[in-house]
């Protein structure tokens, strides 16, 4: 709040005039800095309609430092003339004076002085006039008195060129009475209080307006992780489609369930040390590929490379039932790959998997169910590419049309489990199993616009990103 005394003085002045007044004039007449008046205007404006003030700007001419000197002491050329005695003065002496150089050339062009180059003892200067009219000084004095309007534009510009005058813009307020004008100020309340409500005093009080441009205070709350939010949505989609959740809480798996049961021969590249994490310590416990199958190899414990190992266990369990019943299973959990890491690959990621087992399921059924699944994710354009996978035949990569990238991008893998896998488990002939899988990280990175997976998963997560991430609606 500006100085109350000044504010009240200002109000009294406004009261006295009929039309309004200029803040600049008020400052001049009160002899205070214009900025102080501007402060008073602003604080009055914040009170509501006490006054109204329109900002305006005016231009006026002002003397420069040199201009002020001339107004006081006369122009350089006039001073040259007055400093030359009757007997003249050597040119060299004149040039030593502060105003000598400029004054000499101007006085010469005005023909107020003459130069005798041939004078004995060097060039000498003599006056040619006794009385002169110092027009430059007169003009500057006019401007100084605020009567610049009496000068012609040409004259002002010429003086501006000589750097004696400058044009300045002054911002000021045109102050008039507001609809609630009063010369006394009531202090505004900032907030409603319980006392005001109890006493009813709020009815008389004025409240300071809120600034609706500012942001609110962030709520002090916890946040769910974006990847887990997407996980919850995928889980929801499977549940909506009638899929039962598989127990995938076993990161450590035997090579048997991870590879052998899924028809991946023991020399398969995926079983290389390079791709799979093997566990140290003691090991626990169908030959169309025509190789020597080693039980030790099947018993090696590993960190599962896919959740399909769990699907295989579940299908085996299903086959042990007295009577086969159709099932739909899903899981979303961590898998591990001993691979080279980069901006989009980590050694562990989440695999989403769906499996349906029933009599007579067809490739058309698989494509149909994939359509329904991806529809729920907001993906409607799908097409399928033949692919290779050791435990499914046919195998299809699922592509969706990405409207942003304007191209088809791979969104998942799918297929029908091979009979070589199903029959040894004891599933009845005629039962087919269709399945598909995708990673959780990729759709999450796309959804939340994250380019580096380390900012999303793991301890290097950017917590601000977690705090700021919106709810997950996959279909919008």
């Amino acid at each position: 709040m500006a100085d109350t005394g000044l504010v009240e003085t200002l109000l009294r002045r406004v009261e006295k005039v009929d039309g309004g007044l200029d803040s600049q004039d008020v400052a001049t007449s009160l002899g205070v800095d214009h900025q102080a008046i501007v402060g008073a205007v602003k604080s009055l404006l914040a009170l509501g309609d006490v006054i109204s003030a329109d900002q305006r700007s005016s231009k006026h001419w002002e003397l420069t430092g040199e201009g002020c000197e001339i107004a006081e002491q006369g122009s350089h050329e006039a001073r040259v003339v007055s400093s030359i005695p009757e007997e003249g003065m050597p040119q060299s002496q004149l040039m030593k004076l502060a105003f000598g150089k400029v004054g000499f050339s101007k006085a010469m062009s005005n023909k107020w002085i003459r130069l005798d180059k041939g004078h004995e003892g060097g060039p000498r200067i003599f006056k040619t006039v006794e009385h002169l009219e110092d027009l430059v000084r007169d003009k500057l004095l006019l401007v100084q008195k605020g009567q610049a309007s009496q000068l012609e534009e040409k004259e002002k510009n010429e003086l501006k060129k000589r750097k004696l005058l400058s044009e300045v813009t002054v911002k000021s307020y045109w102050i008039t009475k507001g609809s609630c004008f009063s010369t006394t100020i009531t202090k505004q309340e900032t907030e409603l209080t319980p006392e005001m409500i109890a006493s009813g005093s709020w009815k008389e009080k004025k409240f300071k307006p809120y600034n609706f441009e500012a942001l609110g205070v962030a709520p002090d709350c916890g946040h769910l992780h974006p990847l887990m939010k997407v996980r919850t949505q995928f889980r929801q989609i499977f549940l909506e489609m009638g899929f039962t959740e598989m127990p995938t809480n076993n990161f450590i798996e035997s090579s048997f369930w991870n590879f052998d049961s899924l028809f991946q021969p023991q020399q398969h590249p995926a079983r290389d040390q390079h791709d799979t994490f093997f566990l140290s310590g003691e090991q626990l416990g169908v030959s169309v590929y025509k190789y020597d199958w080693k039980i030790e190899e099947a018993q090696k414990n590993i960190l599962r490379t896919h959740t399909t190992a769990v699907s295989a266990r579940m299908l085996y369990k299903l086959a042990q039932q007295e009577k086969f019943t159709p099932v739909k299973y899903f899981s979303i959990d961590r898998v591990f790959r001993n691979e080279t890491l980069d901006a989009t690959h980590l050694a562990e990621f989440h695999q989403i998997e769906g499996v349906v087992a029933d009599y007579g399921l067809t490739l058309g059924d698989l494509m149909g169910i994939l359509h329904q699944f991806f529809n729920k994710l907001g993906i409607t354009k799908l097409r399928f590419k033949p692919a290779y996978n050791p435990y499914t035949e046919p195998s299809m990569e699922v592509f969706s049309y990405h409207e942003g990238l304007k191209k088809w991008v791979e969104v998942g893998n799918s297929g029908m489990f091979r009979p070589e896998m199903l029959l040894p488990m004891g599933l009845p002939e005629g039962v087919t199993v269709i399945a598909w899988g995708l990673s959780l990280e990729r759709p999450t990175m796309i959804k939340y616009g994250i380019n580096n997976i380390r900012e999303l998963v793991g301890h290097k997560v950017n917590l601000q990103m977690v705090y700021d991430s919106p709810v997950c609606r996959l279909d919008s």
């Binding site: 039962t244 159709p326 290779y388 091979r418 301890h459």
Partner: protein, 578 residues
């Protein structure tokens, strides 16, 4: 997935027409291939080594095509073209024939007893009157390399040797000798070396050094000689220089030595079927006889088509299969189709593989999409259901969810938490690439503390939680370990905030409908735990069982995780509440 790079113009010439990049991409998609990249040698060099190195390199357009891992028959230009031409019904699938030499005995490869110890199998064949051009020759060499990398499992299972038959004379002997006794001039070298010298020579060879380990420690090394004692090759390392093939070679002797006979037969079939189209009599391969130590003999290549009978009836399916290089005929009963699997299609092992090809020929995307009528009721896994519900309420209690790695260093779960590794029941990984993946985590705490450390610039306090699995050794499980679902939370601020973390624990118990108190309720009692500040740790008991701990972390733990503020933590096993 192997990638084959072929010259675009050469490919289009062989296909008899040109395609736009989009059209060719579309054709690949239908056929189960992927046009991975369009590039040139110049591009590749300039990307890998800079523009200056690339100057003068060829700017012929190359297509890099991803081929499914089981389709060895598509690993070279010849195979790709043949597959696509038959698919587009531009040509009939060839029938490969094994023939006897016109005027002499077949070439013989005699295997001696000594090979049993190191690399027991060998097969061979001859490509007679072949015409190489520079492109064909390059493709021939490239296919060997591709097969070596894929089906041959980096030469461990099979190694291929190709020789100019006119420079050597059979019968050939495949034997094994002590490395000191083997001496020959290897491919592209100026002088002779013993096998021992070769092994040290190739130690620094960027390509060959990767194969040395296969035989390095054996007492004897495999070697093939001709009847004059000339060394053809020392598999799986290097061929002899004497018999190397060139553009002018007319007759090629191909041998494959192996630890896996099935794979050796496949590899030999691939080599001969892919290139026999350049023989004087196309699609014929001259047989070679392999003599085993016990006197048995065998003729190679196998080349016999496999026959599979499909119990499908339509003529249409038979037509579709023919498009996929699978000659098919509807049998007289009209109910079955007999399908002939050519030697190039070693990936076909069951009727379902054939049906996939039929579906591909029909076009996956032309199959009507249907909804299975399978009726099921969905069930959540109780453990996951509980976790989901608790997560929501922990966030509502002001804690933010972290998601940390299940793998970590041994230090993270032991030294840094002032614990001894032996008391952690941790499962150790035997082949970690970096120290970040030494063990499966036994606690969520270290992951949360690392998350705090990585976010020190964030405003205090930091309140984090995670509900996830740790892995503990458990002899009662078939794999000797089990997952355990834990709830862990930390509070990091200028003051330890034990009361905050204690309050969170009270809230969790309230959510789980457990009241304070002994017996069926919950209570905490002072406990000693090296991770926590002495006198500031309590054990949590619920329904009479110990379920976890809470307390103020030990200053040394704070330091070891590169933190500076006091921190309190809660860690409980939620599987008790199922």
């Amino acid at each position: 997935m192997p990638t084959v790079s072929v010259k675009r113009d050469l490919l289009f010439h062989a296909l008899g027409r040109t395609y736009t990049d989009e059209e060719f991409d579309e054709l690949c998609f239908e056929f189960g291939l992927e046009l991975d990249e369009i590039t040139s040698e110049k591009d590749i060099i300039s990307r890998e080594q800079g523009d200056t190195k690339a100057e003068g390199a060829s700017d012929v357009i190359l297509y890099k095509i991803d081929v499914p891992a089981n389709r060895y028959d598509l690993l070279c230009l010849e195979g790709l073209v043949r597959g696509l031409q038959v698919f587009k019904q531009k040509m009939e699938a060839p029938r490969y024939r094994r023939v006897s030499p016109a005027s002499s005995e077949p070439q013989r490869l005699v295997i001696t007893e000594e090979t049993t110890a190191v690399r027991p199998h060998a097969v061979a064949a001859v490509l007679r009157n072949i015409t190489f051009t520079q492109e064909r020759y390059d493709s021939f060499i490239e296919l060997q390399e591709k097969l070596h990398q894929n089906v041959c499992r980096k030469r461990t299972l099979v190694a291929i040797g190709t020789h100019d038959l006119d420079t050597i004379s059979g019968p050939f002997t495949y034997t094994a000798k002590p490395p000191g006794d083997i001496r020959f001039k290897p491919l592209n070298q100026a002088k002779e070396y013993t096998a021992q010298e070769l092994m040290s020579l190739y130690k620094t060879d960027s390509h060959l050094r990767h194969y040395l380990h296969i035989i390095e420690d054996e007492a004897v090394y495999p070697v093939i000689y001709d009847s004059n004692g000339i060394v053809l090759s020392m598999p799986p390392i290097i061929n002899g220089d004497h018999s190397k093939i060139s553009l002018n070679t007319k007759n090629v002797f191909i041998e494959c030595t192996a630890t896996d006979l099935t794979k050796a037969k496949i590899v030999l079939d691939m080599m001969v079927t892919m290139f026999c189209e350049y023989c004087e009599e196309p699609f014929t391969v001259e047989e070679a006889e392999v003599v085993y130590p016990d006197g048995r003999t065998c003729q190679y290549p196998v080349l016999y088509p496999l026959t599979i009978t499909l119990h499908e009836s339509t003529e249409h399916i038979a037509q579709l299969l023919t498009k996929m290089c699978l000659r098919s005929e509807v049998m007289s009963d009209g109910e079955q189709i007999e399908v002939e699997i050519p030697p190039t299609r070693s990936d076909v092992i069951h009727a379902c593989d054939i049906m996939e090809d039929a579906a591909m020929a029909y076009g996956f995307n032309n199959i009507p999409r249907t909804t299975p009528r399978t009726y099921t009721i969905a069930n959540q896994l109780p453990l996951n259901k509980l976790s989901e519900l608790l997560r929501q309420d922990l966030a509502a209690a002001g804690f933010t969810e972290a998601l940390t790695f299940a793998l970590c260093s041994q230090e993270d779960i032991a030294d840094k938490l002032l614990k001894n590794i032996s008391e952690t029941r941790a499962c150790r990984i035997s082949n970690p690439k970096t120290a970040e993946f030494q063990v499966a985590r036994t606690t969520l705490l270290s992951g949360l503390l690392k998350t705090v450390a990585a976010n020190r610039k964030m405003p205090l306090p930091l309140r984090l939680f995670e509900i996830s699995d740790v892995v503990l050794k458990d002899e009662s499980k078939d794999v000797g370990a089990r997952n355990n679902r834990r709830l862990c939370a930390v509070y990091y601020n200028k003051s330890p905030g034990f009361e905050v973390i204690h309050g969170l624990m009270d809230r969790v118990m309230q959510l789980l409908e457990i009241k304070p108190g002994q017996g069926n309720g919950y209570h905490i009692q002072a406990a000693d735990d090296s991770t926590f500040f002495p006198g500031r740790c309590a054990e949590i008991f619920a329904c009479g069982k110990s379920i976890g701990r809470l307390g103020v972390l030990h200053p040394d733990v704070i330091n070891r995780f590169e933190l500076t503020m006091p921190c309190s933590a809660l860690d409980i096993d939620i599987e008790h509440f199922l």
